[in-house]
């Protein structure tokens, strides 16, 4: 499994730290970073769950982005939050990756 990390810039260290901090916040169930193909880069959940989340959210993000841009082509989707009964899924989409955090705010 690919897990080699080369931290050759202070920015990288900061990024790792921020990720770690996010994971330790109250109520955060999991953090996933997947690339455009759906391959997980960083994840705190098991592989099957990660792949499932990534695939489904990728589609939803595409649809959401399509909606936003249909309404105004100069606009673009920056953040997507889905609040469900049990938890909240927050997605920061990008062309190259998807940053997904699942949080249970009521914990």
């Amino acid at each position: 499994r690919f897990s080699a990390v080369f931290i050759f810039s202070p920015k990288q260290a900061e990024v790792e730290e921020t990720l770690k901090r996010i994971q330790t916040h109250k109520g955060v169930i999991g953090t996933i970073v997947v690339n455009a193909e759906g391959i997980p880069i960083r994840t705190t959940l098991d592989n099957s769950t990660t792949v499932q989340y990534a695939g489904l959210l990728h589609q939803l993000t595409m649809k959401a982005r399509s909606t936003v841009r249909d309404l105004d082509p100069q606009n673009d989707l920056t953040f997507l939050r889905i609040r469900s009964k049990k938890h909240e899924i927050m997605v920061a989409p990008d062309k190259e990756y998807l940053l997904i955090v699942i949080q249970n705010p009521s914990e």
């Binding site: 690919f2 897990s3 080699a4 990390v5 080369f6 931290i7 050759f8 810039s9 920015k11 990288q12 260290a13 900061e14 990024v15 921020t18 990720l19 901090r21 996010i22 916040h25 109250k26 109520g27 955060v28 970073v33 690339n35 455009a36 391959i39 880069i41 960083r42 595409m62 399509s66 841009r69 249909d70 309404l71 082509p73 100069q74 920056t78 953040f79 939050r81 009964k85 049990k86 909240e88 927050m90 920061a92 990008d94 062309k95 190259e96 990756y97 940053l99 955090v101 949080q103 705010p105 009521s106």
Partner: protein, 747 residues
Amino acid sequence: MSTTKAKLKKPTLKVTPSSRVMNVSTSGVLRVNHSSTYARSINASVSRKSFSLAADSKILDKSSVQTPKHTVQVFDENGKDVTPQPLYQPDPAAVMSKHSKIFASDTSGGTMSDFYSTAYQTTTNASFAGPFTRSVFGSSTVSRGSQSTMESMNEEIEDPSSKRDVSISLSDVQVRREEVKELIKEEMLDEVVDRYLIESETLWLLHMPAVSVSVDSEEAESVKERNNLYMELCKNRMGNDKYVERSMQTFNGAPKTKEVQCEAITMVDAATTATTWDMYDSFRSAGLGEAALSPDTDKASGPEIVSNHRLDPTRAPERTMSVISTTSIASASSSRIEMEPFVVPSEDEPDPELIMQSEKFQQDLFVMERVILENIYQPKLAAYRQLPTLEDPDIVPKVVPTVVSRREESSLDEESTLTPALERLWSFSCELTSGHNVSSMAWNKRNPDLLAVGYGQFDFKDQKSGLICCWSLKNPTWPERVFTCESGVTTLDFSASNASQLAVGMHDGSIATYNVESREKTPVIDSSDCAHKHTSPVWQVRWIDHERGASGEDKGETLISVSADGRISKWFLRKGLDCIGPVLPQSLKVVGNLSITLTSPCSQGPLYRITWSPFCSDVFLSCSSDWTIQLWRQDLFTPVLGFTSTQSAVYDVMWSPKWATVFGAVNEGRVEIWDLGASILDPTIVSLASPGVKLTSLLFATETDCILVGDSDGQVSVYQLKNLTVGEGTQVDALDDIIGSTLASQL
């Protein structure tokens, strides 16, 4: 159309006396004749009369549908006559001349009836029959048409609509005829009228050649002869050589089944959605003519192309760097390397790392963290901002017990909920700050959500390196900026004109300014090079706004510092910080401790803080380690009022920015909020600190009713003032009254 066929057949119709149809028709005609005679004299609708005759036919029922008026008139809602006019207007003169034929001609009537019966048999769309009947036959045949339709209707029962239409047409025609007749009647009743009977041309509809010929006809002879010949032929047929029976047989080839099967034709569904943004993108990329932007609509390939292109030029140096780092394992500072050798980074492998390092990713992480925290801290932040807190609808199970307990509480402590109290909302702290003593706090002048906290020890012992943290309200768990300093920070102040400039005074006497906007960890300017820098702890730094530009000076802000070595210095921000020597504190509103100790030696022990009232310009408070807070007026050398509550040093005191009579103070173990309007002997609100922690600094929030309390453990707690009702009347007056009354009582 059947009617057109009928038209063609018109000339071919031959009437022979032997035809059965004719017999019936003649009877029909006779019947009709009867009715027509009546029609002439009576103005009533002929159609109606005829229908009454044909009692046995079903047409009676159908006729009831017809409205019994001889003119069919249609009126619209305005009363205008919008009767549809018939397409064909028969020539009344022609009608008149021919109408007598109805009665006279038997055979001709028969032809018409023949025609009509067949026409009806073949007509499907009878609505055509109406106009057609009139137009087809012209004036000469209209009358006949009318009577024969009646007759055919009697005989054959066709669909009612056809009859109805035709009968309407019939009535129309009849009407016209009658109108014409009217004119005649009145004028020329007694005149002798000549009537001419002319036979019209014959219309052939059907020709059925007869099987028998009359003996009297001319052909009879030839026919007879032919018949005889034929009979002889038949007789001779038996043994005649001329007629030999032969049979033939055709070969029927054996049928053979052949099957053909082709390969399944694969169907591929191709679909594309032309979305608005797709077209916009294509248009833009086509317009710009950039090769980088891929114009194709396939989204899957799009990002790849873009990403490769984008990453290549910018990340190439880093990729080469990664190659270098693989070879020198020792140089990797804090990396987790797997056991497998990482020889050459393939095209894909660095990409995930590149993603992680991209600016956008960092930005997204930043936003994500804030979103998560917002979820966690939303009720607290809402309380801070004095917004109604929304209850999470999903937290159902917790509601029940709290409701019960709340009810109990509310019944018992009805009064306690109304007493002023401090409610703790949250605290700014992280592992970086734990153990550090909070020495000063300052709000940013432009962004009221930004807080700078300086950490440093007050006393000489246990001097750690100082720390400055810039906290944002949106993230109480991690500071936005962290600056480390060599010595403990004792004072902070944000500049008003340049909102990102933060001046810091330190325990070792040095002063530095930081630019909080950038991510640099080093100060912008330092006073370490200055020859005249302070040698003792700087107690206060302030940015002072010059309202009037003194000679040669720019209008703007200057930095003033007060230090324990007895000097008040004004600093110029040039290449380094440079200062002018002691500056008289007359124009300064906020003065360090030292100046006061010079003028009023009433308090023992060092003064920790002096703060002017934001409402009354000549009133200020001081707090010191001699357990007292003292209220001074500028012109008096003795304090007006003194407040003591506990036997512990008061570290910080601050006026409330909202109420003139309210101030807050922290001593070692408690936070006290005093309301001079309510009581000058006791604090209105007292909140105890957690055991083992000393409260060291206090700051009021400018926009809301909250206070920030810093303690010796590095935590800055945010409390909300609840139920603090301050007396009415203008604030300044209230304070003045109190001071005045106190002074009066003293005299």
